[in-house]
């Protein structure tokens, strides 16, 4: 047997080709546990408060004020007009839904493909999903002029006998976004249960023990529990993966089923999925790069994790570049004068030409920097790229929505769109809620899934020497 082992050793790849470990430092379970829960149990640092107050101000003062103002006054407080009936509200809706998608892709799809490195960033990505879907779900509810009739969207039996019209993708959206919110929250919460039990077991005060114990549901870590838990986790991951493709496809169909030139394209569902994932990778980088430093998790969320997310970003950027190209090609190839008009005016028009250039230069051009290992290793650069990706994708939605609506079939019907301060502050408010909830999340539960990270260390495998296995079994 030793001969075989020696042969295997000589076949092992040279050091520079070997994969670096998922967790640097070869730490014990105890060390990892202490490290990953340290931020939840220690004193709240100053930087947290400095970030929390502005976010909480925007989220709890600015946003409700804007909502009350809009609902009590009417949609006229926004820039939406005729013919641009969809403005910042729908742009931001699509943007927030997009941000959510990368989180699900990381936590669910990479789980199904057994990518162990995802354990370090899965929880953080899922939290991003949950909070951004909440923000996305807000917009359609206030986009309808009379928000107090929102319940018309649900099939509720009333004396009027009014039912939703299920042929409309806008109706499908109601189900898709709500489902996405509930399913991703369930997935996130179920992943949290073992870690809530961990925090319960470590609690020093009765209040903490009670609260964490309440949410941990009495988890003991029994093998029977884990057995059912793993199965449920796999099923949920599979279902979440379906949602990655469904939700944004339906959002894309909201546009594609209309007749507007620039929207009426079969590529839209795919277009929106890819765009969503790409934008979300940008957001996860924006969140992870500072947080890994502030929470001292550089050995858990390693350079390698960032590197891989960068590569996924690059991949989705290439896909989106292809889709942009196809869109232009089909607009030309269709011979449709209205299509050609919209697409030529995206770049060469007089009003919103800058949006088209930002979208192409940022989303396709700038991201090509990520081909270079040096660029991926420069975290400040990656952070800037990630912020710009979010801006670029916001402009993509601006170009698609406003750029297609403001000049449609009849010149007599042409118009101009300009956002108002209420539009801007509502968006700032949703950003505030998102970051406020994210900060609360990292403060009260471990940002990294502790049980999952422990489970992928070499020490956790009972069939290998680091896990305590002694030599060959008879």
């Amino acid at each position: 047997m030793t001969e075989v082992a020696d042969n295997l050793k000589s076949l092992a790849p040279p050091a520079e080709l070997r994969r670096s470990p998922n967790i640097i430092g070869n730490r014990s379970f105890g060390f990892l546990t202490d490290k990953l829960t340290a931020f939840n149990e220690g004193k709240t640092p100053l930087w947290w408060w400095i970030m929390f107050f502005p976010a909480a101000f925007c989220g709890t003062i600015v946003l409700p004020t804007m909502l009350i103002y809009k609902i009590s006054t009417g949609v006229g407080v926004w820039g939406n007009n005729h013919p641009v009936m969809w403005g910042w509200d729908i742009i931001n809706f699509v943007w927030w839904v997009g941000v959510a998608h990368a989180g699900t892709l990381i936590s669910a799809m990479l789980f199904l493909t057994r990518q162990h490195w995802r354990t370090a960033i899965g929880r953080a990505a899922e939290a991003m999903t949950v909070f951004s879907v909440m923000m996305a779900g807000l917009y359609p509810g206030i986009h309808v002029g009379r928000s107090w009739f929102d319940w018309f969207m649900f099939p509720i039996p009333t004396y009027e006998g009014m039912w939703p019209q299920f042929r409309s993708p806008l109706m499908w959206d109601v189900f898709a976004v709500n489902t996405y919110l509930i399913v991703s929250t369930t997935f996130w919460y179920m992943g949290l249960i073992p870690d809530l039990a961990l925090l319960r077991d470590r609690s020093k005060t009765r209040v903490r023990k009670f609260l964490y114990g309440l949410f941990a549901l009495g988890w003991t870590g029994s093998a029977r529990h884990w057995h059912n838990y793993e199965k449920a986790y796999t099923v949920l991951a599979g279902l979440c993966t379906l949602l990655v493709f469904t939700v944004s496809s339906i959002v894309g169909m909201d546009f594609a089923t209309s007749q507007i030139a620039g929207w009426h394209a079969t590529i839209f569902p795919l277009y929106f999925v890819v765009g969503a994932v790409y934008c979300g990778f940008g957001m996860i980088l924006v969140l992870l790069i500072p947080l890994r430093k502030l929470l001292h998790l550089e050995n858990i969320i390693t350079q390698r994790h960032i590197d891989r997310v960068c590569k996924l970003t690059l991949l989705s950027s290439l896909a989106i570049g292809y889709i942009y190209l196809m869109e232009y090609f089909i607009a030309w190839y269709s011979g449709d004068p209205y299509e050609r008009w919209v697409f030529s005016h995206r770049l060469l028009g007089t009003t919103y030409w800058y949006g088209g250039w930002i979208m192409i230069l940022v989303n396709v051009g700038m991201t090509q920097l990520l081909w270079f290992k040096k660029a991926r290793a420069n975290l400040k650069l990656v952070f800037c790229i990630a912020v710009l990706i979010n801006c670029g994708m916001w402009f993509e939605r601006f170009v698609i929505i406003v750029g297609s609506l403001y000049q449609d079939f009849l010149p007599a019907n042409w118009g101009y769109y300009k956002q108002t301060w209420v539009d801007v502050l509502t968006f700032v408010g949703t950003l505030g809620v998102f970051f406020m909830m994210y900060l609360l999340f990292i403060r009260f539960v471990p940002m990294v899934a502790v049980s999952e990270v422990k489970g992928i260390t070499p020490e956790a495998d009972p069939h290998h020497p680091p896990g305590g296995a002694k030599g060959e079994k008879p």
Partner: protein, 179 residues
């Protein structure tokens, strides 16, 4: 006497140690025992003979029910209770009813998986006899525990303790059942 006790608990340091101990406990003929660990241990479900988890069935039944239910709902709303011609399209057809039904299938299956997990694990429960054990707090940190229940037919305080010592368990203690 044994009604007052929950069982004997033994502590182990590594996943391999507890896995081997589990194999020996099974070979010794015990039926009512369980392993507690900070993360799922690969291969343990086979040793314990747990088979396939029923969670998948929960998800399937919930999902199938929701799919059929939504189809019926859409038919009832748009074709039966208040038929309304929209764009000259049929009152009820597969393409338009598939998408909402499929979405609600995902929703119900996900909730089914979660509910199935909670129900099969008999959660939530506010208390467990093992929570009284001080060492057991380390179960979510870095220790592994094997518990042989006192309801096991082969359970005897001295014999079982001896077995746990033999298979390498430390801190062997009797856990009281105070409920």
């Amino acid at each position: 006497m044994s009604e007052k006790n929950y069982g004997l608990i033994a502590e182990f340091d590594s996943p391999a140690a507890v896995l081997q101990a589990a194999e020996k406990t099974r070979d010794a003929g015990y039926r009512r025992w369980d392993v507690f660990s900070p993360f799922p241990i690969h291969g343990l479900d086979k040793v314990m003979g747990l088979g396939n988890s029923l969670v998948g069935w929960f998800a399937f039944l919930f999902g199938a029910g929701a799919f059929i239910g939504t189809m019926l709902l859409i038919w009832y709303c748009n074709a039966f209770d208040y038929p309304l011609v929209v764009g000259g399209k049929p009152m009820f057809s597969a393409p338009m009813s598939f998408v909402p039904s499929y979405i609600l299938l995902v929703l119900a299956a996900a909730l089914g998986a979660f509910i199935g997990m909670v129900a099969l694990n008999q959660l939530p429960r506010h208390h467990h006899p093992l929570f009284k054990n001080k060492r057991f707090e380390l179960v979510s940190r870095d220790k592994f525990f094997l518990v042989i229940g006192s309801t096991d037919l082969k359970f005897s305080e001295t014999e079982t303790r001896k077995l746990l010592e033999e298979i390498g368990g430390t801190h062997i203690e009797l856990v009281e059942d105070d409920e």
